[in-house]
Symmetry: C2
Subunit: 179 residues, 2 copies
DNA sequence: CTTGGCATGTAACCCGTTACATGATTTG
DNA sequence: CAAATCATGTAACGGGTTACATGCCAAG
């Protein structure tokens, strides 16, 4: 059982989903390709942590809809109580910034603006996710409490938004340094 | 040539270093173990991007001090101009927060405080790095410009500090949600 | 008429971690 | 006396990406 496996159980604790959907929705938390997810789902099924139903479709390919079992839920809750690994970030851009003095100001500024655009797009995406959660929720988001199914979504979007705002602030600050 | 290889060249563009030192100093940018670095250095040497001198030591084991060659510098500068991969973060804590509703408020608060402590320690570390750079610099840090060898260090510590402050702000906000 | 989305799976490969191996000195 | 630091390396394993494979439908 690796972290990605628990990640899949985490998503399934809220909704039954196909492998394809799991692949799409786990990206913000733990990037993974379908080629990694399908074999793990087969494993989880053999361990009895998930089960699936075949759903034939006429217009699209048939699919397998996975759900969390009682023993899967138990495993998930135990994992939450276990010590948590430190986050790992790998950012090629940071390596380039470290030795940015090797290129001239113009090229450095070009790189910075590209990265700033990337952050702007991310911020927009988080804004859309926020609106989506707002629409799904009956209560105003500030009133959501821990056991609301949307609580996790809400607080993680807030976390991502704060992070991207810090990144954009840094970009602004950097621009003044490269003038 | 993978990203880590360019990372090693990036560090060597500032100082000649041993594999061991490279392993220590690349951690904030691109976490890697010595077992990954030593074979890459051997490759880089065969490609002519780095060279080394044997330095016998009496008290400690002998070492190989690596330096960047002219062709290594060229490769490094070309890499900087190439498109940059998006950053990748994997955070087990985020997965747990997503389904935090599966445990009670007390356990959730315990997890949050643990993570907050982790961030506090990180912030202290960045503070120390900042002081270290300040001591090494002849000029006040705000006056460093792009071609100063300390510029990269300075702006990356600033970036990391802004990030950890955003994380701590989020923790404070979360604590009020779990009361 | 080609590209992208839906939907599943396998195989080969590269990247990264853990473990094995050695050995002296310093610190607790 | 045990653990940590310096210092280098290899081997085995698990995690993650790219590529191979299939096939239908919708949109540009």
């Amino acid at each position: 059982m690796n972290t990605l496996s628990y990640g899949l159980l985490s998503l399934l604790s809220k909704d039954s989903r196909t492998g394809y959907e799991l692949m799409q929705h786990i990206q913000p938390f733990w990037p993974a390709k379908h080629s990694q997810i399908y074999p793990l789902l087969a494993q989880l099924e053999q361990m009895g942590y998930v089960e699936f139903v075949h759903v034939p479709q006429s217009d699209k390919p048939d699919k397998k809809v996975y759900s969390l079992t009682a023993s899967g839920l138990k495993a998930l809750q135990e994992w939450i109580g276990l010590p948590t690994d430190a986050p790992v970030t790998r950012d090629e851009f940071a390596l380039k910034v470290y030795c940015i003095g090797l290129v001239d100001k113009d090229e450095a500024m070009k790189m910075l603006l590209e990265r700033e655009n990337y952050y702007i797009q991310k911020k927009e995406q988080y804004g859309e996710s926020f609106e989506k959660v707002k629409r799904l929720s009956k209560k105003p988001l500030e009133e959501l409490e821990i056991h609301d199914p949307l609580f996790g979504n809400y607080v993680l979007i807030r976390k991502a938004t704060l992070k991207v705002e810090a990144d954009l602030f840094w970009c602004e600050w950097m621009k003044s340094k490269l003038k």
